[in-house]
Amino acid sequence: MTSGPLIVQSDKTALLEVDHPQAADARHDLSIFAELERAPEHIHTYRITRLGLWNARAAGHDSDFVLDVLDKYAKFAVPAGVRNEIVDTMSRYGRLSIIRGEDGQLLLHSADRAVLLEASKQTKIAALLEGSLGSEDFVIAPWARGQVKQELLKLGWPAEDFAGYAPGTPHEIALAEIGWNIRDYQSKAVEKFWEGGSGVVVLPCGAGKTIVGAGAMSVAKTNTLILVTNTVSARQWKSELLKRTSLTEDEIGEYSGSVKEIKPITIATYQILTTKSKGEFAHLALLNANDWGLIIYDEVHLLPAPIFKMTADLQARRRLGLTATLVREDGKEGEVFSLIGPKRFDAPWKDIEAQGYIAPAACFEVRVDLPDEVRMDYAIANQEDRYRLAACAHAKIDVIRSLLKNHEGEPTLIIGQYLEQLHEVADSLDVAVITGQTPVDEREQLFQAFREGTLKTLVVSKVANFSIDLPEASVAIQISGSFGSRQEEAQRLGRLLRPKADGRAASFYTIISRDTVDQDFAQNRQRFLAEQGYSYEILDAHAL
């Protein structure tokens, strides 16, 4: 027992006191086998997961190493249950492997006959195998590599994958570091991804995930398919790649609703891949249209269900997932890990902020008192109507006015969920509005005017939640949202986090109706950011 910074709990969480002198060393060692779950201001929470322990084994660390790290930094004795589970879990890794047979077929291999039989007799796994080959191998169906890995992971016998990745058609790509340099954390993320083969990189909004993607491409030097959330984002990717790499306009294609180009580097939207015609996915051929050596999934937390299925068939290709908020309200984070790969790199938002790579932000929750007649409407309303009533309260408009006055001259986004409310606000304040109904060209013009400063205020719907680069926006006023969505909250704050030219901090306001479900949802929405160390100051609307 030491007076270290770490408390290991019997539920396999480890709490790290960040102000402790040994905290930085402990964090470094912990990151090898534990997942960072929460990083508020004083205590960071790590979780020792099976996946984390198996990743550590894959990287060459054994259970003695893990226990030594915990003992070294633990404040109290490490609970016996945790010790036993670490030893047991790590001993399961590597007993099974996926290898290539002499004639190139995929084999599930193990020298431990009992483990091999246990795995092969599982109904779901048996369906993916094509019979045994000697006493130590089973042949895996050519298309089932991903599913086999996924099922083995669920069974608790993770397979080491030695079958390798398809190299893809070579294509020269290099970073063009002229007037800029890849940041340390970005190159570390690329390095960790490449070492691991496939996986997810988690970085805050505005911290340069595109550069990580470009960095990975410069290492892979192969044909690359990039999947993004929408056309605006696809164009931003293209422009960024042209600026940051040796790639030229001719080498990059867009595959979206409006353009269908397949080039060595192709940027496609999730929407086009999931578009159906006569009951079939019409553009599925894209996945095999070129000999891709790398597939990048932007905003991987938004991966639609059909893409999950398609991704299971792409296990022979390297896959990189990029996201700021690996939280899914449908709880499918696990599927992202098993199909794209485990989390390879993660950096707390506040760490990146401390390094000056994202703008500091102050968050505020402004509580508005509803007039009695509105409260009465709310009191007698059905449950399903209550959120809309509270979120769209007219009383919020005066608060928006006050906030705009307080931040006069600063580029401000007013973000909401309900179109009626957005138009009401836009009309009352006489500002432009962008919703899903706004044509792409008009959207781009308005965004451009905002970037250039000719438009100081913009009312936007959820179309601006993700992947929209508005570097100078420094104030956001959130007036309604998708109920308690934590990732939406974080992504909306993310619109403000590009460092400002004049170094000013960002301000993120959420206006909520007091004593309503609006307030309850706001609490849930704030959880992710609070876990990243952002604190919300609570203000009364009348005191603004």
Binding site: I7, Q9, S10, E17, P40, E41, I43, A80, A530
Partner: protein, 581 residues
């Protein structure tokens, strides 16, 4: 004399200490025991004998074997069985209770040949065993404390016979970061320790639970160890001292108790489980302080104390309203903190969270928002984060806005009052509260047919900052409410329970009590025992008859008089006295 009667007489003669020891070693919960008859019935049940058989030593089993064959056994051996109320002496003849022998006969032999694989103690690291024992003891104390606060803040209903609902088990398991089975074991342990009890289908705190909150870690450990030695019984507690640190308690018990079944409900199972939970053993390997703790040695505190996590007096307060205790807190701070903060996880480091409801709970217990702020800032050692200050101030300004009182009108039992007409409308319209059938007699009031405590917990579950007030307008503290429940109907302290038992027994002996008479008859029917009945005859004389009762209905008792070879039907009004034969 019937065996049941023998047993009742034997129980009456026991001292309070012996009675206490008996019910602890025979695992009889006193909560539902009304008098010595029902205690005797519980002790004489096959279920009770099944559980005690496993805890009988080889020598005791040999003695019972001899008794079953009509042989006489030596006095010390007889007394060791008599202390457990397994044998009796009737007119100088030694005998074992029949239901016990019936249970024993179900085993192929009273003694069985078993080979025990002795575990090699040397391969265990004693320091590691002690370290893990310390952690287990700490976790158990934390879990019991959490359960007490959970009972204070939630209405926990009885599910099944004395059980707890899955939702309540899950809530506790989630707070402890443990599986549901662990939480269930903690509920069972709290019952066994007398920290909770049942009343009107609800689990309630006992006076012992309130005492527990005031104890420091070592005093709490003493409570656990006392319960453990009670469970062992005096004889076993003495023999078990032979165990060396590092040796296996399980192996030792298996050697000593050939019929032991290590099942969840068996006594041996309970001994093993409690030893592991109470930090006396780790995975059945004996700790350094095992002997000291069982023999109530004075120095176990210093040995054990070294292996309990060191107490910290500092907390960490974060802007997301979470509070982290980076280690066990001093009892006083912990108790204060839990008055106004919800528990998120309990462990070596515990996480709490402030909410409007939790702060309101603190105010209801008599704290002020300034006191809460002072406790937080002095333990945190810095200025409170703004959201915390805002929350305290907001809850303070709304305290007493929504009040529940007991109704004076007999048609309904609770009145919900507020000056906020819209708030009452919202409550009245809340679909989650529909089962309460709230009605609105005036703008400032809602009425309900359920008792105030039920409505109070119902509203709190839905997030309303409601408080209870008594007829004088004083706020009822949730702690006082628990204590009142204890005083009103549930006796908890051992001494009080035993006194109550003796009192009930005396009143049951008084003649002319129809209820008592009916109970005696039902008891005799259930146990196939004979009754000695004194009947008033028409000529004014009395006749004593012995009857095997077969039923009681419509004011008449029916039964077989074997002596006269007739079936008798006696009007209850003619019976002057009745007792088990």
């Amino acid at each position: 004399m019937s065996e049941l009667r023998q047993l009742v007489d034997a129980l009456r003669k026991l001292s309070d200490d012996d009675l206490r020891s008996l019910v602890a070693t025979r695992l009889i919960p006193l909560n539902n025991i009304e008098d010595f008859y029902s205690l005797a019935e519980a002790l004489n049940s096959p279920k009770s004998y099944t559980s005690v058989i496993g805890s009988l030593s080889r020598a005791q089993l040999n003695s019972l074997h001899a008794l079953s064959k009509g042989e006489k056994i030596k006095k010390p051996e007889f007394e060791s069985l008599q202390a457990l109320q397994l044998v009796y002496e009737d007119a100088g003849k030694q005998a074992a209770y029949e239901p016990l022998l019936d249970q024993l006969k179900q085993h192929k032999a009273f003694t069985r040949s078993i080979s025990i694989i002795q575990e090699d103690a040397s391969r265990f690291d004693q320091n590691e065993i002690d370290r893990n024992c310390g952690l287990a003891a700490f976790e158990t104390m934390q879990a019991l404390t959490e359960l007490i606060f959970d009972l204070e803040k939630h209405l926990i209903r009885e599910v099944g016979k004395g059980g707890v609902g899955l939702a309540d088990v899950k809530r506790l398991a989630s707070a402890l970061g443990k599986p549901n089975d662990y939480a269930k074991a903690i509920f069972a342990m709290a019952n066994q320790l007398g920290l909770m009890t049942l009343s009107n289908g609800r689990h309630l705190l006992t006076a012992e639970a309130i005492d527990w909150l005031g104890f420091d870690q070592l005093t709490r450990m003493n409570v656990l160890f006392k319960s453990f030695t009670d469970l062992l019984g005096a004889g076993l507690a003495k023999e078990i001292l032979a165990l060396e640190p590092g040796s296996s308690l399980k192996t030792w018990l298996e050697t000593q108790f050939p019929l032991a079944e290590n099942t969840a409900t068996s006594k041996i199972g309970l001994i093993l489980r409690n030893a592991n939970h109470f930090g006396l053993t780790f995975e059945n390997q004996v700790s350094s302080w095992f002997g000291l703790a069982v023999s109530k040695g004075k120095n176990f505190e210093s040995t054990l104390g070294k292996h309990l996590p060191a107490v910290q007096s500092r907390i960490i307060l974060q802007a997301d309203l979470s509070i982290i205790a980076p280690g066990p807190l001093p009892t006083k701070i912990e108790s204060q903190l839990r008055r106004f903060a919800n528990t998120e996880t309990i462990g070596l480091a515990s996480t709490y969270r402030l909410s409007a409801l939790s702060v309101c709970h603190g105010l209801e217990t008599g704290m002020t928002s300034d006191e809460i702020a002072e406790i937080l800032s002095s333990a945190f050692g810095a200025k409170l984060p703004q959201p915390v200050e805002y929350l305290l101030s907001e809850v303070n300004s709304r305290f007493e806005r929504l009040v529940i009182r007991e109704a004076t009108n007999s048609e309904h039992r609770s009145v919900i009052e507020s000056n906020d007409n819209v708030l009452l409308t919202e409550i009245g319209n809340d679909p989650r509260l529909r089962p309460f059938s709230l009605t609105r007699p005036s703008n400032e009031r809602l009425i309900c047919r359920f008792e105030p405590s039920v409505v109070y917990f119902g509203l709190r579950e839905c997030g309303y900052l409601v408080i209870r007030k008594d007829a004088d307008g004083s706020v009822i503290s949730p702690i006082e409410a628990s204590e009142t429940a204890v005083a009103a109907g549930v006796l908890n302290k051992w001494d009080e329970r035993i006194a109550k038992l003796r009192e009930a027994d005396q009143s049951s002996n008084q003649a002319g009590n129809d209820e008592v008479m009916t109970r005696q008859v039902q008891l005799a029917i259930r146990n196939k025992a004979k009754l000695t009945i004194t009947v008033n005859r028409a000529d004014g004389t009395q006749q004593v008859i012995e009857l095997e009762p077969s039923g009681i209905a419509n004011g008449r008792l029916r039964g077989l008089d074997r002596k006269a070879q007739v079936e008798r039907t006696l009007p209850l009004t003619t019976i002057a006295a009745i007792s088990l034969a």
